[in-house]
């Protein structure tokens, strides 16, 4: 295929760290790939696995749900209603609020830099906004501070995973090469 990075008929390539986005997920994928390489794989039909960091459903859906629920908790804690009603309102507000970085940010970046792929910068912007909101909520006395602590803790663990994957980068690259070859 032209300009397309894919592993053909390599079912274990499902666990390539390169198919994962966040450092923590890459590190977990690395461990899974290593054990998959040791095990004798099942015979499979023709399969083409794209090598793209945003390819893994569990990681992307998991992060989406986690970010959404965290944002919903923050909004719910700010609403003056009863908890069940606040949670419903929080979810609605979170769904709308999570559109803002890409709608406003994307439009601004497009106006400044022109049409094109702005996913990295919007991703950074959204995560930064979530981190700022979490840092603030974590210092309050609302029940949502637990969600904020969890968010910051996961960020910290992901940071540690980033350091580990950087240290192991040559070994990971060799493992991937061995899997795809």
């Amino acid at each position: 295929m032209t300009n397309i990075n894919a592993a053909v008929d390599r079912p274990r390539a499902r666990w390539l760290p390169s198919r994962h986005h966040f450092a923590l997920a890459r590190l977990i994928a690395c461990a899974r790939l290593r054990s998959a390489m040791r095990a004798s794989g099942p015979a499979t039909d023709h399969i083409v696995l794209a090598i793209d960091p945003d390819q893994t459903a569990a990681e992307m859906n998991g992060v989406a749900l986690w970010v959404f629920l965290t944002a919903a908790c923050y909004f719910a804690a700010l609403l003056p209603w009863t908890l069940p009603l606040s949670l419903v309102g929080g979810m609605l507000l979170a769904a709308i609020a999570l559109h803002l970085p890409f709608l406003i940010g994307g439009a601004l970046i497009r106006a400044l830099t022109g049409d094109g792929d702005h996913i990295r910068i919007i991703s950074l912007l959204t995560m930064s906004l979530m981190t700022i909101a979490s840092s603030w909520i974590a210092t309050t006395t609302t029940w949502a501070r637990f969600a904020a602590w969890l968010f910051l803790a996961v960020l910290f663990v992901n940071g540690l995973a980033a350091i580990i994957t950087w240290v192991l980068r040559r070994w990971i690259a060799a493992l991937e090469e061995q899997c795809v070859r």
């Binding site: 083409v48 945003d54 459903a57 992307m60 989406a64 996913i119 919007i122 995560m127």
Partner: protein
């Protein structure tokens, strides 16, 4: 309104700006919002009532959401491939049939408005050594048509089924020179010729073009479907080829071919009802 260019522009903007880790939220949100699109929702629900007889309307609303959800993912994946060259994961069922189609001199690929038929055709055109012509209905909205032309079709050649008589000769020439013609064979649009068939026990009409072309060019028809299995994950299903054999009675030749096509289509629609993107009532008599 839903056919206006603004939705295409918004989709493209989303694909170029939404972080992949918030994408499931966006798709869930917009799929729910599109449930407010009355004609589309009612069309899908009427079709579901035939595919799943005895089903409750309330359950079919949730099923309708699944159809919209899958549709949103497939059109997003298609735009992502065109704009960012990002491919999904692929699995194949009936790989031998698919290889045979590519190996032979000329064939007709018959598909349906299922899963990501558009993405499948574009990817197939990138990997195949054979010229591929995709025949489809043109966009109704002129601005949408211009937008689609501007935002690339890759190596695939697209022909619109509005100029039936000249197109038939062009397609015959293409298939005789070894090309592959990809046609959607589940829906008759406009004034194109049709043939009678039966789907889920009810009478329907299907486009006559692919069957007439197969008979004229003496090539088989390969039923091929592209279904979505999950996030950026698809399966290409290639079924046994349909041979249109010429006898003294042309109507019988066509009827036999259409019956085989209907059988394949029914199997796939039954298994993947949530990916049959037919937003108009398919069986008009099924209206309550």
């Amino acid at each position: 309104m839903v056919r206006g260019v603004v939705w295409r522009q918004l989709l493209r903007f989303g694909v170029l700006n939404v972080p992949p880790w918030t994408e499931p939220l966006m798709i869930a949100f917009w799929s729910a919002l599109f449930l407010l699109w009355g004609p589309g929702r009612r069309g899908v629900m009427r079709n579901l009532a035939v595919i799943k007889p005895g089903s409750y309307p309330i359950v079919n609303i949730f099923r309708c959401y699944r159809v919209f959800w899958n549709y949103a993912w497939t059109i997003a994946d298609n735009v992502r491939f065109k704009e960012l060259r990002t491919i999904p994961d692929w699995e194949f069922t009936g790989w031998d049939h698919f290889q045979n189609m590519q190996a032979r001199e000329g064939a007709i690929l018959l598909t349906a408005h299922m899963g990501s038929y558009d993405l499948g055709a574009h990817l197939f055109s990138e990997t195949s050594s054979r010229p591929i012509v995709m025949v489809r209905a043109p966009e109704e909205d002129p601005q949408t048509r211009t937008f689609e032309e501007r935002h690339g079709t890759g190596k695939i050649r697209i022909e619109f089924n509005t100029r039936a008589s000249e197109l038939a000769l062009d397609l015959l020439e293409t298939v005789r020179s070894g090309g592959i013609i990809a046609i959607q064979g589940d829906r008759v649009t406009g004034t194109i010729g049709s043939l009678p068939g039966t789907l889920f026990g009810k009478p329907v009409t299907v486009p006559a073009g692919p069957f007439a072309l197969a008979l004229a060019a003496r090539v088989p028809i390969y039923p091929v479907f592209v279904v979505r299995l999950g996030r950026r994950r698809y399966r290409l299903i290639a079924a046994k080829p349909i041979e249109i054999t010429r006898t003294r009675n042309r109507d019988d030749d066509f009827a036999l071919g259409v019956a085989q096509w209907m059988a394949e289509l029914e199997i796939v629609v039954r298994d993947f009802w949530d990916q049959w993107f037919t937003f108009e009532p398919y069986w008009t008599e099924s209206a309550p």
